[in-house]
Symmetry: C2
Subunit: 268 residues, 2 copies
């Protein structure tokens, strides 16, 4: 269950949302992390805002928001350490300045929190009515010998963000998401393009089922820098596990030297 630097096993927890039930969601995460660990995964990635639910509105988001080192953070650290698996999970975060953010947090397999990202590119009224927009660049952090870039949902649809992560050394971009079924083009086209054009693995963990008026598309996937979809869920709840191989990344970057061939003076 520890990565050997050459191989990394990622689990995507594709689940139905349970809005407004953080305790139940943390219990479900505990069970999914146990399952993922049994299957040899080094990391489990959840959908966006999996702890409070996504389509919960501003009032509930604030009520259910966790401070940076709040009780939800504590609980997930315990889950990670108990199952010896890194966890990237979505929640609402209450900042010391009083703002509520759509956050993702990465905890390593020792239960140590290693990064938080506040969603910067907000999706339509759904996001804008609920949370403040993050202002910091998405992070790149090393866990288990691999460098992870972290994005939330709509952000991966912007090629600039994945490019920035790759140029800062990311091997894998992980994306908790809440993507509706009418936007399948994201999984079919955009996520695969990000992997190829910026030469990274992309792990995209979506909801399935519905939440209020929203119907989610599932189809969580892990894509190689070759563009090959190496693991994909259907529309139903699933735990998708795939192994990433560093040799694939190295070989693919020889074949597609996009990062070297960029000419930034022409892009302004």
């Amino acid at each position: 269950m520890t990565a050997d630097d050459e191989r990394l096993r990622i689990a995507l927890w594709q689940c139905e949302p349970r809005p407004g039930a953080p305790g139940e969601n943390l219990d479900r995460l505990d069970a999914a992390a146990a399952d993922a660990a049994r299957r040899g995964a080094d990391l489990i990635v959840t959908p966006e805002m999996v702890v409070p639910g996504y389509d919960i509105g501003a009032v509930r988001a604030r009520e259910l928001a966790d401070p940076p080192d709040g009780p939800i953070a504590d609980r997930v650290r315990v889950i990670a350490a108990r199952h010896r698996i890194a966890v990237l999970y979505g929640c609402a975060e209450l900042d010391p300045d009083g703002s509520v953010y759509n956050a993702i947090r990465l905890v390593d397999a020792e239960g140590i929190g290693s990064a938080t990202h506040h969603k910067t590119h907000l999706f339509g009224d759904l996001d804008r009515r609920m949370v403040a927009s993050g202002s910091a660049r998405p992070p790149v952090v090393e866990v288990a010998g691999w460098r992870f870039g972290l994005l939330t949902c709509y952000e991966v649809e912007f090629p600039e963000l994945v490019r920035s992560l790759a140029l800062r050394g990311a091997d894998v971009v992980c994306v908790p998401t809440a993507n509706m079924i009418e936007y399948d083009v994201v999984q079919d086209v955009l996520v695969r393009a990000r992997a190829v054009e910026s030469q990274v693995f992309v792990a995209y963990a979506n909801y399935c089922g519905s939440e209020n008026e929203l119907i989610y598309g599932g189809r969580s996937e892990i894509v190689a820098p070759t563009g090959d979809v190496i693991a994909v869920a259907d529309r139903a709840p699933d735990l998708v596990v795939a192994e990433l191989d560093r040799a694939t990344l190295v070989e693919s970057r020889r074949r597609f030297p996009y990062l070297e061939d960029r000419l930034p003076d022409l892009y302004t």
Copy 2:
């Protein structure tokens, strides 16, 4: 055969290369332009360096290179004016400074040259041994009431270039190319992603057949900003014609407001 500003008909001339035979290639272009015009097209797009051939090496590229207002330019102006169709074609261009470029040139339906672009992002040794790298940003030019962004082959694989064209007002990005069969991922994934993420139509005109050791993949395509492939060739010679509708562009940009939602401060 004149665009009414709301609709534009584009023809992609997918042909086998005839390296080192510019006269024959201009005759073939004349015939293809006639055919496209009969089918109501406002514009015909050729593969990359269709006049001299693509895999011809530095010596032949220089021998067959046309000055900016040379005899090849003259001949294509006559073809365009005779058939009342705009032509975007690829050739080698001999610059007054003595450099040879991999060029594309747009001529309008009156036979007036309206733009030239020198390929900036050179592909591997094939390009680098043959031509100099262009240093100017790809152009956006208006023809028949539509704004065209122009790119050559490998350039469309860089999201930054299509983004730049879209931000400068392009409605359609046209791409003469010479894409080998082992890089089908370009048509399958990258070209479609460019259309969606930057909310433009993309018209990608490839060779089929072979040239020396190269085997081309065909599958020339026109993609809508929704990601839908509205016309596509197979592996054989073809003239693919599709109609672009401005209403599709307007509606798609409402649904995918990527150009408005960018946060450039986070991309540096």
